[in-house]
């Protein structure tokens, strides 16, 4: 049996039954990494020895008859912008190429407490800025479905690792679509929880009011299992919200009877390819045949979300990235005759083009004389986006749209036009602006590449999103397809 191909819940059942142990599973996935990683390049760091040690420790606990979490002994990947004590965390940036965090992010600690086995750190666009993982300062990741295509981004390494069976589950982060869009491109399940559900402590900040950590997995059940472990109030993150975390496994019901689905037509315009629209409409009909109702609606403000996001996110980034100055960690320029030159040269040598560009946009948008025209204006539009969602959710339980306007594009195809690449995020960005939860899962294929369906829910109602996704998954076969490598 090829253990690396299985989901976490399948592996848990085998480990519980004593058929296999975590060392078998971990070794199987590490062997898989050895055989396909040269083609995919999903990881920046693989921590094989640490993984085998953690697996052995879990096996020991299991043999003593200890009660263990469903993730105990399951090998996972962690995006390399999430701090892991003692293991290099680079954000795929030269400026942090040698950074070894002295502490772990809350999510990493929770996973290790749950007994999950960390396999390594996955590739991303530098500082999570990008939609293709081509902006990694080290190397691009390749889409396991077609190695000449991008895996999406910024959590492209995590999505590719799960799709290529190089990790059973992985963590990503999502600021404007960085979990959902790569999940869509790589044919896996990816979820951005409600803003405030998951602690951001130890997640290297990009845009603090938009960033959220979430799972990428092979199916909806594993998504719910991972959510259960990472959600919850954390005193170390004052924006994490103190409300009870539901038992997400109870949401995994094959039932959408009477579910009201809104279909915002603006998410099917703005350059969304016809084959994508067609596939999403087919999925809506599947849900309808199972007892859900859907209706097309209009949310005109969605036309304005791209420029809104590309003012707000870089503004926050320009402030968050001010900390990289060559003093306390990371790269310091060898040509640092005085402090100001040290700051300016370290930053120029350490940051890549996309990061510099966003810092410049943000700094300009926040600078004296332009603040009202750009930043304040964008914050007002953000209010309107939230209001549009609030209004829609008075009538509908979930909203459904494409995740991305196209299937995975070619490596190098969109690097020239700065705004063309950003259009890849047009369906995912509104969700971050509003702070609501959303999940992407496969609903079809075009040219042999997966198409993503996006299910958006009310704030803190991940359960209805999961139930909708679970029902669709139970009644379709897409989640069983894996790329051939």
């Amino acid at each position: 049996m090829d253990l690396y191909k299985l989901t976490a819940h399948e592996l848990e059942a085998l480990m519980k039954a004593g058929t296999v142990n975590s060392r078998d599973v971990t070794q199987s996935v590490l062997d898989r990494i050895s055989s396909v990683e040269s083609q995919v390049s999903a990881y920046l760091t693989v921590t094989g020895e640490i993984a085998m040690d953690s697996a052995a420790a879990i096996d020991e606990r299991r043999s003593r008859g200890e009660e263990l979490s469903p993730l105990a002994g399951i090998p996972i990947g962690i995006k390399d912008n999430i701090c892991t004590e003692g293991t290099r965390t680079t954000c795929a940036s030269k400026i942090l190429h040698n950074f070894i965090p002295p502490y772990s992010a809350t999510v990493a600690r929770r996973l290790s407490d749950a007994g999950a086995v960390m396999l390594g750190k996955t590739n991303l666009d530098e500082f999570a800025m990008g939609s293709s993982t081509e902006n990694s300062a080290f190397y691009p990741t390749h889409n396991p479905w077609n190695l000449t295509k991008v895996p999406g981004g910024s959590s492209g390494g995590s999505a590719a690792a799960v799709a290529a069976d190089e990790a059973v589950i992985a963590l990503g982060s999502d600021t404007g679509g960085s979990i959902r869009q790569p999940a869509s491109f790589c044919g896996v399940v990816g979820m951005k929880p409600t803003y405030g559900r998951v602690s951001r402590y130890g997640l290297v900040a990009f845009a603090s009011s938009l960033d959220q950590i979430g799972p990428l997995s092979k199916d909806v059940t594993d998504c719910a299992t991972m959510l259960q472990v990472i959600c919850g109030k954390d005193p170390q993150d004052s924006t994490s919200v103190d409300i009870p975390v539901p038992n997400f496994s109870l949401a995994l019901k094959n039932d959408v009877q009477g579910l009201k689905i809104g279909v915002p037509k603006e998410f099917f315009a703005q350059g969304v390819r016809p084959e994508i629209c067609e596939s999403v409409w087919k999925a809506l009909d599947v849900l309808k045949s199972l007892g859900a109702e859907y209706r097309e609606i209009s949310m005109p403000v969605m036309e304005y979300t791209l420029p809104t996001y590309y003012i707000l996110a870089p503004s926050e980034a320009s402030s968050n990235l001010a900390r990289y100055d060559g003093v306390r960690y990371g790269l310091r320029s060898k040509h640092s005759p005085d402090v100001l030159k040290m700051f300016m040269r370290s930053r120029n040598e350490g940051f890549g083009d996309e990061v510099k560009q966003r810092i410049m946009i943000g700094t300009y948008a926040l600078s004296a004389g332009y603040y009202d025209a750009y930043y304040a204006k964008a914050q007002k539009v953000r209010s309107l986006v939230r209001q549009a969602y609030d209004e829609a959710f008075k009538e509908f339980d979930v909203l459904i749209s494409p995740t991305s306007p196209s299937v995975a594009f070619g490596i190098g195809e969109k690097s020239d036009d700065p705004f063309q690449m950003k259009l890849a995020d047009v369906c995912t960005i509104p969700v971050n602006l509003a702070g609501i939860p959303a999940l992407s899962m496969t609903c079809g294929y075009h040219d042999g590449l997966p198409i993503g369906l996006q299910i958006m829910g009310r704030s803190f109602d991940e359960e209805t999103v999961l139930r909708t996704a679970y029902t669709y998954e139970r009644n379709t076969e897409h989640h069983r397809n894996r790329p051939v490598l």
Partner: protein, 96 residues
């Protein structure tokens, strides 16, 4: 509104980025392209709309003023490009 080369140089100084000649040119061009897309927002009437900085209500959060374990000085300087006696070393700042 069009960004001049001087705007870009000034912004780079604010952002503490020492850009090369080529980068200044390229960024002037790119920023102007991107700014064009931002103009679209001016079409929207936002009079009376309250700006939104967070999707959830955020307030100052206080905790009891009690000592808690924190990073040791050795751990705190471990990643420093240059350190001495648990201090970060930087080029001279004060004139003597």
């Amino acid at each position: 509104m069009k960004l001049s080369r001087e705007d870009v140089e000034h912004t780079a100084l604010l952002a503490r980025l020492e850009l090369s000649e080529h980068e200044v040119e390229q960024l002037t061009d790119r920023l102007n392209q991107i700014m064009l897309h931002f103009e679209k927002l001016q079409q929207l009437d936002t009079d009376g709309v309250v700006p939104m900085s967070h999707s959830i209500p955020v307030e100052n959060v206080f905790r009891e003023d009690v000592a808690r374990p924190s990073l040791s000085p050795e751990a705190a300087v471990l990643n420093a490009p240059e350190q001495r006696d648990d201090y970060f070393v930087v080029p001279q700042v004060v004139e003597v």
